[in-house]
Symmetry: C2
Subunit: 204 residues, 2 copies
Amino acid sequence: MPRGRASNYDEQRGMILAKAAHLFAHGGYPGTSMNQVAEATGFSKATLYHYFHDKYSLLVDIAEGHVSRLEALVVDVVAERLEPEDHMRALIARIMAEYAGAQDAHRVLTSEVRFLEAADRKRILGKERRVVAGFADAIAAWHPEHAKAELTKPLTMLLFGMINWMFTWMRPGGALSHEALAPIVTDLFFGGVPAVGRGKAGRG
Amino acid sequence: MPRGRASNYDEQRGMILAKAAHLFAHGGYPGTSMNQVAEATGFSKATLYHYFHDKYSLLVDIAEGHVSRLEALVVDVVAERLEPEDHMRALIARIMAEYAGAQDAHRVLTSEVRFLEAADRKRILGKERRVVAGFADAIAAWHPEHAKAELTKPLTMLLFGMINWMFTWMRPGGALSHEALAPIVTDLFFGGVPAVGRGKAGRG
DNA sequence: CCTACCGATCGGTAGG
DNA sequence: CCTACCGATCGGTAGG
């Protein structure tokens, strides 16, 4: 059975990364062994080391691949040059769709970054910061008075809190899909942001 | 040097749990060795095993201790029988203060639960569910129309998203303290909840 | 692409 | 004979 040299190399790499992301997401990076990755992929451990230099490079590739797609998504939406409210809507809908299609990588990015070495963590958190900055810019353009009051950053982080946390409790195939939740998040944020700083939360 | 039998036993246990929580929060449960716990506490590993049956019981005690304090807090606030808005305010302020004083345990509870055995996970998630239910009941009493539309649960989870996520990015001693963030969370939630379902997020 | 291993370190326990 | 602890090492398994 002849085959082109490494004709499906990238495909195999992608399959291994997907299986590893699933294992890392559920068992944690230190808690997952290369033997488990080998078993899940159907490859021997030695074959795994043909595709990846070491266990660590699996972690880097999973985290960086995911955050790079998020960065590209933000760049795409910015290029559409939408009105502030539509820009916000597009960012929220697009990032939730991206998360929904990459739940394992999302979990790895949010809870296993601590295992990255300094240089890799710096590079990956830099991309993450540019994603957050894309949202913060959109919020600042939408409510410039909050930008002056330095409320943009905390508001951005609260929005990410709602969305990031969602994918820790949402069960795929559960009653609440991300499509059903997107308008609730958007209503809550759109309704709440104008109220921030007006002291409606004050006592009385 | 006479001493009372195990006079400081509970105190030593508490110290070990605090050190272990810090290590688990930063290195993960499987990524932390009992040798590290021993080094951090100043005890020999053998002494550690005098206080705890095994490494696993550290995890259970950290997670269960934290969630039990959260459960007690909710019971306390409910006992105050406040008006809906004040009840919500009290719940948000109290849980944020509790998180702020237990950041390590909070991280362990949110990202290391997956390492609990079935029986322990069931018991601990049961307590967690009662905490969430306390918030959901308060939201339902405050906005009964959302309860009818089955929006209470997602709204509760979005609120927990903002608060839980906050303690993953907030740096102790950073510019944004939890005291500064509490009114922003409350304004955003109080302003946003009435808008949910009114379709303000719809296109146009 | 596999079997057979390695140096090291793991969680847990021995004797005293 | 106890509790509280130590230095040293067990059998088994990790990443490679």
